[in-house]
């Protein structure tokens, strides 16, 4: 695609994308305690991808996300199911959450919940889905 790039958009994207991605990861990690979560985080990360697409076109998006977005969708679904199975194995029911405390030097105790795995699945799935949609709808067909 041949787009005349606005310098303002390019500069804006270069600053916004890392911020958005960082914020999305923050939402993903805190999601099971405070407002946030995989879906909200995934959408924010997708909006970063959307910015990349608007600025650098589908080539740019493919460079920024160098994996097959549809496989990413499948991976996300698989992770979410895996989180459900963790509950099945440790607590006896599908999707029941379980957690373990991990001691990390300097930071201290961190609770790792299987919800985080579920959220990570949703996060991945949302990114994969939005990227698929953008690439399918936004790429010129021959």
């Amino acid at each position: 695609m041949n787009i005349r790039r606005s310098p303002l958009l390019t500069a804006g994207t270069r600053t916004m994308v890392p911020t958005l991605v960082l914020f999305s990861v923050y939402l993903l990690i805190v999601g099971h305690d405070v407002p946030g979560g995989g879906f909200a985080g995934g959408l924010i990360a997708s909006s970063a991808l959307l910015l990349v697409f608007l600025t650098f076109g589908s080539r740019g998006l493919e460079r920024a996300l160098p994996v097959d977005p549809e496989a990413l969708t499948g991976l996300g679904l698989a992770l979410a199911i895996l989180a459900g199975l963790v509950g099945l194995v440790f607590e006896g029911t599908f999707l029941t959450y379980t957690y373990a405390s991990v001691t990390v030097p300097i930071i201290g105790d961190i609770k790792v919940s299987s919800l985080l795995l579920f959220d990570l699945g949703v996060y991945t799935l949302v990114i994969g889905l939005v990227a698929t949609a953008v690439l399918r709808l936004g790429t010129e067909t021959s």
């Binding site: 097959d68 499948g74 991976l75 679904l77 698989a78 199911i81 509950g87 029911t93 959450y97």
Partner: protein, 490 residues
């Protein structure tokens, strides 16, 4: 135990995820899809046997007990339909893979197919009205993809009708659920059985009919059926067979479940019987007017839905049991008839009655597959359709609803008439010159297996009827469902 009841949903979901990951290789997708479908059949049959012996299995998903959390309830009715639909899903998938064109043309076919299977399983197992809505959405979204991918002028127009009707029905269903929640404060089916008792009679009836209408759109009852014969015939054969066998029947299941559980009646419901009669007659008259195998069969879907609604409308154990038997029979027979129709299309190049002649001479084996299914649909003894219709007629006599029973018999005669139209037009007559196109062996095997399952149902009619009666007793006994679901912790 509780693990097994979640597997019918988890297996297809996991398979969908894996097919998406490996989608560079169609072969791997096919292996995963078929393996998942075989596993689903095995699990469903295990559930069928276990639930009948040891009673229903209830799972509180995520460890949240009802009415707060979402329960999965694998009772007799749910697992019977689960097993039947799993068999149909497997046969249709083998047909689709053997036909090759379906999954070669549609990228991600296997993922969508497994999502649809997951939606069907969730709809059957859920004990929660809102989750039922979600299950319908999963099913419908998958069906939109399957129906619209072969885009062309006519196809897109017909698919648009289907999608718009689907969306309107979903919006209405959501509204109905919202209203029920506003009135009672719960969407858990078991909880609703009690909470609805406090609701004034008129309001309760209104909610009941609203739900009946919404699921009626999905089940294609009169007068809400017109979208079906327009859209179904245009999809690829395996997709049509799947829709015909499963989707409308899940609508009927939802009607049976919600009406018996939430809006029980002491005697026959006249309005329901009138709707059932009209659905039967209008559907079959529409079928007679058609000139294409798939279109004829599509109108028959509508007509046969009427029989199921009739069984429910009697509101007796015998009536509901007969409706259940009929649903099982229809899932298998309808899917196999469409697959046979697809075989005719594959070997002759078209399914138009005027253009095809003498298939009985040209490909006798296709005729041999068509005949038992067609006779079964029309209700000839000793086929499974006869078993279902006999049970329905007996149930009708039991409550003295002579009129609707008469209508159903008339509709049966007309069904025979339209089947002879296919038989006379397609299978008899002077064969045209040239040999038929070759048909992939897997397509024939898949169709033959499904026809064989139909015959097994006919032979094993007694156990099926008894099973359906036990399921109907569960449904009609007040408080059974509530007793099952409430208090289950994980």
């Amino acid at each position: 135990m509780s693990t097994m009841a979640t597997l019918p949903i988890v297996i297809p979901l996991a398979a969908a995820a894996m097919t998406l990951i490996v989608q560079r290789s169609l072969k791997a997708e096919r292996v995963i899809g078929i393996a998942a479908s075989i596993a689903s059949v095995a699990v469903a049959i295990w559930l069928l046997v276990t639930v009948d012996q040891d009673g229903a299995i209830v799972v509180a998903i995520g460890g949240w007990a009802a009415p707060v959390g979402i329960s999965l309830v694998a009772d007799r009715l749910a697992v019977l339909l689960l097993a039947t639909s799993a068999v149909a899903l497997l046969a249709v998938l083998i047909y689709a893979v053997s036909q090759k064109s379906t999954d070669e043309e549609l990228r991600g076919f296997h993922a969508v197919y497994q999502m649809l299977a997951a939606g069907v399983a969730l709809a059957l197992l859920t004990g929660d009205l809102f989750t039922l809505f979600v299950a319908f959405e999963i099913m419908l979204t998958a069906s939109y993809v399957l129906l619209t991918h072969r885009a062309g002028g006519t196809e897109t127009r017909a698919a648009l009708t289907y999608v718009v009707i689907g969306l309107v029905a979903s919006a209405l269903l959501l509204t109905a659920i919202g209203l029920i929640y506003a009135v009672t404060g719960t969407v858990n089916l078991a909880d609703l059985t009690v909470k609805l008792d406090a609701v004034p009679g008129g309001l309760r009836a209104g909610l009941g009919w609203l739900l009946f209408m919404v699921f009626g759109i999905k089940a294609a009852i009169f007068p809400l059926f017109f979208w079906l014969p327009d859209s179904y015939p245009l999809a690829p054969t395996p997709v049509t067979a799947l829709f015909a066998g499963l989707l409308t029947k899940i609508g009927v299941y939802a009607i049976i479940r919600t009406q018996t559980l939430l809006f029980p009646s002491d005697g026959p419901v006249t309005l329901m019987l009138v709707i059932a009669g009209l659905t039967m007659i209008v559907g079959v008259l529409g079928a007679i007017a058609q000139k294409d195998i798939k279109r004829i069969l599509s109108f028959h879907i509508v007509s046969q839905i009427g029989y199921m609604i009739m069984g429910l409308g009697f509101f007796t154990v015998a009536g509901v049991a007969a409706a259940i038997v009929f649903v099982v029979h229809q899932i298998i027979v309808k899917a196999s008839l469409f697959l046979v129709g697809g075989l005719v299309e594959s070997s002759e190049g078209t399914g138009a009655i005027d253009a095809v002649n003498g298939v009985a001479r040209r490909s006798p084996w296709i005729a041999a597959l068509f005949l038992p299914s067609a006779l079964s649909l029309a209700g000839f003894p000793p086929f499974s359709g006869f078993v279902g219709k006999l049970a329905l007629v007996e149930a009708g006599f039991g409550v003295g609803s002579w009129a609707v029973v008469g209508v159903s018999l008339l509709a049966s005669v007309l069904t025979v008439f339209s089947m002879t139209k296919i038989w006379g037009g397609v299978f008899w007559g002077k064969p045209k010159d040239g040999s038929p196109f070759p048909v992939a062996r897997g397509m024939a095997v898949a169709t033959a297996s499904l026809v064989a399952v139909g015959l097994i149902i006919a032979v094993g009619a007694q156990p099926l009827v008894e099973y359906a009666e036990r399921a109907a007793v569960d449904l009609m006994a007040e408080g059974t469902y509530r007793g099952l679901v409430m208090g289950v912790q994980g």
